[in-house]
Every structure is written in C-alpha cells, then in structure tokens.
Amino acid sequence: MSGEGLTVRGLRVTFDGFTAVDGVDLDIRPGDLRFLIGPNGAGKTTLVDAVTGLVRASGSVRFGGEELLGRPVHRIARLGIGRTFQTATVFEELTVLQNLDIAAGAGRGPLTMLRRRKGVPEEVTRALETTGLTALRDRPAGVLAHGQKQWLEIGMLLVKDVRLLLLDEPVAGMSHDEREATGRLLRRISEDRTVVVIEHDMDFMRSFAHSVSVLHAGKVLSEGSVTEVQADARVQEVYLGRASEPEPAAVPVTEEA
C-alpha cells in the first residue's frame, strides 16, 4: 500500500482563458477518505476530470509512482483509478450483473470476449455483497433507484480492484437512510483503498470524512481534519461571505417569451 497515495503538484486547467484549477497541490495518503469541498465553481470536479484524464492539464499528478497527466483516459483507468459522476452513469439497458461483469473485464482476451458469460466471477459476487445489490442482480440497471445506481457505480469500481476511487457527489439526491448506507459503504471501502469524495453535504462530510480539502477559486484554501477545517477563518469567510452577499446571476440569458 505504501507509495500508492495521490500526489498532485501545481495542477492547472484552463478553458479558453478561464482558469478553473489554478495551481493545486494535494497529498492524499493511501487509505485516506478525503473530502473535497468548496463553493460552486471552486474547481472540484475539474480537478477530478484532470486526474482521470478527461481534461488537459499542466503540472503533475502522480499515483503509485506513475505520472498520470498526458495519458489517455482508459490507460489511467487501467492503473487502478476509478471515478463516478454526479449523474450516476450505469449501462441502463444491461442488468446489474452485466454491468459489474463488464467493469471486471477490461483486459480479457478476445477468446473470452467472444464467448458467453458462464457463471458469476468471484469479484463480481463480492462486489454485489459489498454494495448490497445481490438480490437485484438480474434487474436492468435502468430501473434501479437513484441510490442503488450510485452503489452499482461504486461496485463497478470495486470489481476492478481500483486502488483510488474518485466519487463526485455520491449522496446528492439521496434519502437520509441512503446517505447513511453510502457513508458506511465508503468507510468499508477506504479500509484498503484510497477514496476521494467531492461533496456539498456538510453533515455527510462531518460524519464520515477522515480529512478534508477546501477548494476555492481553483486553489486549495485549507486542508486538515474536519475540526481543523471548520475552525479555519478563511473557510468560514468563503462560505459565510458567499451567503451574505447576493447570489450572482447564474442565468446567462433571461427572456420573457
């Protein structure tokens, strides 16, 4: 496990002149359950996009001694890095079992690919149990409840035996019970993996985070344990300051039609 942490140095992402991530440094130890928080537009998702190869970035992102920047998305995925999205993206027309089987199968040879699946691979069974989806394994993923889709997505990372999970707002839109279940699931997972969670839900963060990084305007504003970060005056300023001033117009075009 040693040396498998995520090290980010001077990460910078720009879109047509707009700098979304502006020189971020992060050190996430193996086994950590790190929460990335920050106001809208702080660059949290873009940071994860950069780490997973989705957007071009400059600087350095190293995981397990390997430089990630500049590699294609599927190569980064093969290094044991997995992510989820704000909107759960599972293969809606395939069953839960087929979803997990595909997730488990990158790197299968052509002969295996051309044959029908016989039985259930062991890692798939384990992931079904971990995520509590065993009873639903033959359902099409499209009919799952919102929370179940998120768990399936996490399960799809577990079957691949990923070592770093990057989860983008996993509990958004979940009920209270689903949040609790998800939190416990993340705890279990982080026992032998590194987990990074982007989250807006402060209660959820307080209950489950090991450590927290606060992003603001593309930079790391504060970092530490939940208590340390909460005590940080700058963090309070960003959050409280934003609450006191009027919300900037988020609607680019307003028309009466």
Binding site: F15, D16, A20, T45, T46, D49, L54, V55, V251, P252, V253, T254, E255, E256, A257
Partner: protein, 294 residues
C-alpha cells in the same frame, strides 16, 4: 498566373454555392443538432419557386428579385412544418432524425417529379447576370459574382440576427442550455420552430441561386446535401466563420483538384482530406472548449 487566378475564382464561386447551401445547416445542424436530410429538398423548393414565378412574371430580373424573399418564405414554411410535425418529437434521437428526414426527402422528391415532371427545367437568368467582366485577364462571370455577393449578404444578415436581436439571444440560449432557457421563461418550442424556419428559408434562397448556375430538377438538392453537411462538420458547429472558411477552402481545393485530375478523383481526394483533417480537429475548425464531454 491567370490560370491560377481563374481557378481560384472558380473555386471561390463553388465555395459560395456551398456556403449558401450550408448556411441554413449551420442553424439547424450546427445550432440545434438536427440532421435534416430534407434540407436538400428545401433547396429544390426554392429553385422551383423561381421557376414557377418566372412562368407568371415576365421579366427575369423582376422575378428573380421577388423569388428571393418568396423562396425564403416557402422553404422556411416547409421547414417549420417539418419541425412541428416530426422533428420536435425526435430531439433526443439525432441519428433517427437523419433517417426520418431522409424519408421526407424521398417523398418531397417524388412530389416534385409528379408536379413538375422528372426532367430538369431551365430558368432564364436576367440579362445583367448572363455576361462577365474581365479584369487583368481573369474572367468573372456575373452570375457567380451575384451568388458570391448573395452568400456574403446572407452570412452578414445571419450574424447580425444571432448577435444583436432578442431572437438571436433566445436561439443561443436554447442551444447552450435548453432546460435553463425553458425555466427562464423562453418558449423553447417556438424558438426551435423559428430557428428551423430561418435555416430552411436560407435553403430556399440557395435554391434561387442554383437556378442561375444551371437547370434544376427533383434531385437538385440531394446532389449538394452531403457536401453541405461536410462543410458544417469541418467548420465546427460553434461559429459561423468556421463554415465560411471551410466552404471556400473546400471550393478552392475541389476546383484545383478538378483542374489537375478529374471530377471523380477530386471528390475522393477531398473526402480523404476531410478525414485527415478530423484527425487533427475531431470537432471541426471552431469548437467551444468547455468542461462538458461533448
């Protein structure tokens, strides 16, 4: 040297026709993402509008001037009707739209055959546009110059509409974020129909221009439609100027290749060039780089 200049002008005039035809597509395909294969038949409708008008009005010059706005209205109305009847049900299924509108295209072609007959028909050009001017050994055919001017005028008008009018703002808002536009109080359905009306109307104008180049017939639009789509693909859907540059570039390339090889070889080479170009810029010349995964 004059050969080069003459070929360049030929290329530019090919480009002007391409541009005029592709301009409507920059709205319907570029802005709205609809692959409307019946766009070619709107071109045909514009061409036949000119033809019918010429049977009614005696002077070729007058009929041409009347035909331009009339063809815009006729083709635009057809487009709006198509949008209302079929396309609005298919916005989430772009590839299916292609096939559905192809079916419409087949039917419209057959309709033209039934009404006007299968053979091509010729319209008379106004005297002013039949001659040519020669400057320094280079020949500029008047009708080609007219089409070039018409194309540039349409580009200008479209740019102004998109940039300056409330309608243009609504169109851009719907393109950028349909849901947000809707909750902001924009009647997205009406905006879609208006966009389609303008885009299809421009096809009608292109049809009028085609009557100046040669005879027109039921398959007039189809002959150009794939090339026009390629212009938008290569130009990129984000900005009008991508299509403008591409149309002229493809026109010149085509004319130079046709001069040095044959028409058929030129077609193949242009296509290969496009595939190679997309290796370099898969989203086309001008794209909006955003965080979304488009």
């Amino acid at each position: 040297m004059t050969v080069v200049l003459n070929q360049s002008f030929t290329g530019i005039s090919i480009g002007a026709v391409l541009l005029l035809i592709a301009l409507g597509l920059t709205l319907t395909f570029g802005q709205m993402g609809v692959i409307n294969m019946a766009h070619g038949e709107f071109i045909m409708a514009g061409a036949y509008t000119t033809y019918v008008l010429q049977q009614a009005v005696s002077g070729a010059g007058v009929s041409l001037l009347v035909a331009l706005p009339l063809a815009f209205l006729v083709a635009g109305a057809m487009g709006a009707l198509l949008e209302w009847l079929l396309i609005r049900r298919l916005y989430t299924r772009p590839l299916d739209t292609l096939l559905v509108t192809w079916g419409v295209s087949l039917m419209l072609q057959q309709l033209a055959r039934d009404v006007f007959g299968a053979p091509n028909v010729q319209t008379a050009a106004p005297d002013l546009l039949t001659g040519h001017i020669t400057v320094g050994g280079v020949t500029f055919a008047n009708n080609r110059l007219f089409i070039l001017g018409l194309a540039l005028l349409c580009v200008l008008a479209l740019t102004l509409i998109l940039r300056l009018t409330p309608l243009g703002r609504r169109i851009r808002a719907v393109v950028q974020n349909r849901d947000l536009a809707e909750v902001s109080g924009i009647a997205t359905g009406r905006v879609d129909r208006t966009t389609f009306f303008i885009g299809s109307g421009l096809a009608g104008v292109a049809g009028v221009a085609l009557t100046l180049v040669g005879p027109i017939g039921p398959t007039t639009g189809t002959n150009y439609i794939v090339d026009a789509f390629l212009v938008v693909v290569v130009g990129g859907i984000a900005q009008l100027k991508g299509s403008v540059i591409t149309a002229f570039a493809l026109g010149v390339l085509q004319s130079v290749l046709e001069y040095s090889t044959t028409v058929s070889v030129a077609k193949v080479v242009v296509l290969v060039a496009i595939v190679v170009f997309l290796q370099w810029r898969p989203q086309g010349l001008y794209t909006l780089r955003t965080r979304s995964l488009a």
